[in-house]
Amino acid sequence: MRVMLLLNDALNARGGIAQFNRDFAGALQGAVGAGSLAILARGSRDDVGPAPRGVDYDRGFAAGKTGFAARALAMAARARADLVICGHVHLTPLAYAAARLNGATLALVAHGVDVWRPTSHSLANRLTGSVDSLISVSALTAARMRSWMDRAPARTTILPNCVDLDAFTPGPKPAALAARYGLRDCEVALTVGRMSTDERYKGFDETMEAVARLRAAGRNLKYLLVGDGSDRARLEEKARAMGLDGAVVFAGHVPESEKADHYRLADVYCMPSSGEGFGIVVLEALACGVPVIASAIDGTREAVDGGALGALVEPSQSAQIDDALIDALQQPRGRRAGVLRFGAAAFNHRVGEWIAREGAARARQSSGLAQRVAP
């Protein structure tokens, strides 16, 4: 099967979606072979990471909207794909055109809160009704998206994010990092994520407030925030206003090579979020053996396997967060076996199975047995 993948981020960009794209592209390469995979990504000049070997990879550098569209159609013409995968809902019109051009199956990847409601692109929204196969990082995200799509896709597959279980491993608290942040001889709560003024759903505020309450109750707990963004200044000001100088540490953006050590610094990973599609960071914390607090109302619920791998809280309920923190801080650190289902091997296996199902669906279609059955 020949596959064309359209991405809104370059493979080497930052963030959870790019991470998913890297894992996904790798798994696809394994499933169909590098020669059968073409990727067009909306990259930027700063993206200097290596291109995947043997893959037709176009980063779409310096292309405006029209230029990017032209490159997409050019790629569609040369790739002659059987399956066009749209990596972001905003690219649906292009992916639709590419799929039509090739008579290919159209698949769409749903990542998170951006598809929980109809997007601002009405054409993209309408064309989601032409998607044959929906891939979603969580059942919740799939359900939210399906609640507004004009027509439900024939097939929906849940493909949870995966985590590199060899890079993210449990370990002692790194002394040098603890010294750098002033986090020696205290308990540490950690949240990792982008700090965006547009989407304050990561749970930074809630966690900071809970840390303040627990400190007021005599607990020697500090809060480490990893990540950067437009909302950081406000969060820093809030920490100051709450008298949490020194107790709340902003690490900013952390290079990939230091990320695991930051998790190892934590006694609890706390993410009372309300709009997370899945929460790959939750998996990274779990892989590092850090007790996790996730949200009962968004995709992180699935990242802790419905509560089997971590505690669930309703983010607006401060008392629940306090209790969960106290509880988690009493737990020993250590990786739970259940996290293996989110490893790369499991992920690659799921992608392989999915490709096989798509191939079978095409075979059925071409043999005239096509049936649209709503699942």
Partner: protein, 588 residues
């Protein structure tokens, strides 16, 4: 007694894939039911139900929900209690129905299965439920006559979402969750959001005493009322009630409210209502303990509930706890109180605090005197609203004078230290509904910034059109009607629900019993309606002593603690709204 949630297909497309969203709504209602969780999908994908359980009756696993009946046709999620379920069960068994559990939930299913809509009129209890009929592919939603138990819904994209808490829908379901400016305007007028509006644009409340049958694949029909207070009052023949009859119907209700497989407590104040319930319960040999909330601020004052409540408990010979609260305790609880608040309200704090104390004392069920003031004319509005209404009728040139006073009177009233509503007396006089509004409101329409709230107020008038009181009944009965259908369901009952469920405590209200109300209706519309003195006399000497002390209601020192330049609860209301992201006046 629990939290319910779900989705139903109106357009015929399967909603089976929405299960994770129902799980998220469940997650948002966790404090309502910590004992268990259930999710059920209709085989054809017509519906998904979710449930959080607080186990009270048949606490075994068989009582879990969503529950299917023995035939497999019906599936239910249900929040509340059916107090007469044992009697109904016997009746249904005689009619040939078979039961697999000892729960009121299964009785409720069979009641509808056997009698249809007419079954709702046989129920005595507090309830909100969603029932799926797999044969007809129908969804039934219904809510008890008083509105003790909440039920909210939202229709979006061919689907109907429902939940026990409005906020859970707004947070976790794909519905329009922007603030409704009509609801916000209503809040600043009343101190609560008037039904059927909710704080969120896409979310609405199902009216009390209504059932709503929706068919999969069809446009929603209108909800139907199976209970109407105005019809009850209009059709009853006025007839005062004798003391022994009153005692008998009250005792029956109190006894019914003791149906439970876990211990029951009574919230005791020094007022007549709660002492009457406790005395009647003791005389009926019910087993209970009592709990009282008292404030350090009131120690030694007349407002201190503790000494008299303790004396009453002592006289009753029951185990009693007094929980004392200080301003510091209050300040420490305030965040959790706001976190739990389902929709903005200026009330609910006392129930929140006493429920927490009761839950810590190990109680899962508590009886409250809520409803006593509405039934037995305890509020000042029973005297004031008819008086204000009459004032207008007797006066010539009321309209122009009233307009002038309303326009120019506010600064004068402030100057002379009069109540802020005084200048508006004439404007709101003349008719009992308006007079009642003036007596009850937080602020009158004229006191809300007309430019900022023009749209909200206009939509409020359009979308919130509560039933007027029947005109041919006594002023007393009209006020009772207004108290029950306006204030009570929108504030004390709604707040009592979230504030108690926040601590996984089931609050029961024996005065709000439909059988009791049917028995009392002829007396309420008579020329000698039952008053607090009659309630006290019916309940015995302890209640009579409480009545003679003249203490009514339950006070909290919140006004003292929060302070503020404006009168009463106005500053508090602004603070509540701010927590929900709305400012009454534009900044600057």
């Amino acid at each position: 007694m629990c939290g319910i949630a779900g989705v139903f297909s109106l357009d015929g497309q399967s909603v089976a894939a929405a299960e994770p969203i129902v799980a998220a709504i469940n997650g948002s209602q966790r404090r309502r039911g910590p004992d268990g969780e259930g999710i059920w999908r209709a085989p054809g994908g017509d519906a998904v139900f979710g449930h959080r359980r607080l186990a009270i009756i048949d606490t075994r696993a068989e009582g879990a929900q969503p529950m299917r009946d023995a035939t497999g046709r019906w599936t239910i999620v249900f929040n509340g209690e059916i107090y007469n379920y044992r009697a109904l069960c016997r009746e249904l068994e005689n009619a040939g129905r078979r039961f697999e559990t000892k729960s009121d939930t299964e009785v409720l299913i069979n009641c509808i299965a056997e009698w249809g809509e007419a079954g709702l009129s046989r129920l005595i209890g507090m309830y909100a439920f969603a029932l799926y009929d797999g044969l007809k592919r129908e969804l039934w939603l219904a809510r008890d006559p008083f509105g003790v138990k909440p039920l909210y819904y939202a229709i979006e994209n061919g689907r109907l979402w429902f939940a026990s808490q409005a906020r859970a829908l707004a947070r976790a379901a794909p519905v329009d969750a922007k603030t409704d400016n009509a609801a916000a305007a209503g809040f600043f007028l009343h101190g609560y959001v008037p039904e059927p509006l909710t704080w969120w644009r896409g979310v609405r409340a199902l009216s009390p005493g209504c059932s709503w049958r929706l068919r999969c694949g069809e446009a929603p029909a209108q909800a139907q009322a199976f209970f109407s207070l105005s019809a009850l009052f209009a059709q009853a023949a006025p007839q005062p009630m004798q003391a022994q009859d009153l005692r008998a119907v009250l005792t029956e209700s109190v006894q019914r409210h003791f149906v439970s497989d876990v211990p029951v407590g009574i919230f005791l104040s020094s007022g007549v209502d709660s002492i009457a319930i406790a005395a009647l319960a003791r005389d009926a040999a019910c087993n209970f303990s009592t709990i009282t909330l008292a404030f350090d601020d009131y120690r030694g004052e007349r407002a201190d509930e503790a000494p008299l409540a303790e004396a009453a408990a002592d006289a009753l010979g029951v185990r009693h706890d007094t929980v004392r609260l200080s301003q510091d305790d209050f300040l420490a609880s305030i965040d959790d109180y706001f976190d739990q608040m389902d929709q903005p309200s200026t009330d609910g704090l006392n129930v929140f605090l006493v429920s927490r104390a009761a839950a810590r004392a190990g109680l899962k069920v508590a009886l409250s005197g809520l409803g006593g003031d509405e039934l037995f004319g305890g509020y000042p509005s029973f005297a004031d609203a008819p008086r204000i209404a009459a004032l207008g009728r007797a006066m010539p040139l009321r309209a122009p004078l009233g307009a002038m006073a309303g326009r120019f009177g506010a600064p004068l009233a402030r100057l002379f230290g009069l109540n802020h509503k005084t200048p508006y007396l004439l404007r709101y006089a003349g008719d009992i509904e308006r007079a009642y509004f003036l007596r009850r409101c937080l602020r009158v329409f004229e006191e809300l910034d007309a430019t900022q709230w023009a749209d909200g107020l206009a939509r409020l008038k359009q979308e919130q059109t509560p039933e007027p009181p029947p005109s041919d009944i006594s002023p007393h009965a009209q006020v009772a009607f207004l108290e029950m259908t306006r204030y009570m369901r929108n504030q004390p009952l709604r707040d009592a629900d979230w504030a108690s469920m926040a601590h996984s405590l089931e609050l029961r209200v024996p005065f709000l019993d439909v059988a009791l109300l049917r028995a009392l209706a002829p007396a309420i519309i008579s020329s000698a309606p039952p008053r607090k003195a009659d309630l006290a006399a019916a309940a015995g000497p302890l209640a009579v002593a409480a009545w003679q002390r003249g203490k009514t209601g339950f006070a909290t020192p919140v006004d003292r603690w929060i302070g503020g330049a404006e009168p009463g609860l106005m500053p508090w209301a602004d603070r509540v709204a701010a927590r929900f992201g709305v400012a009454r006046t534009r900044a600057g």
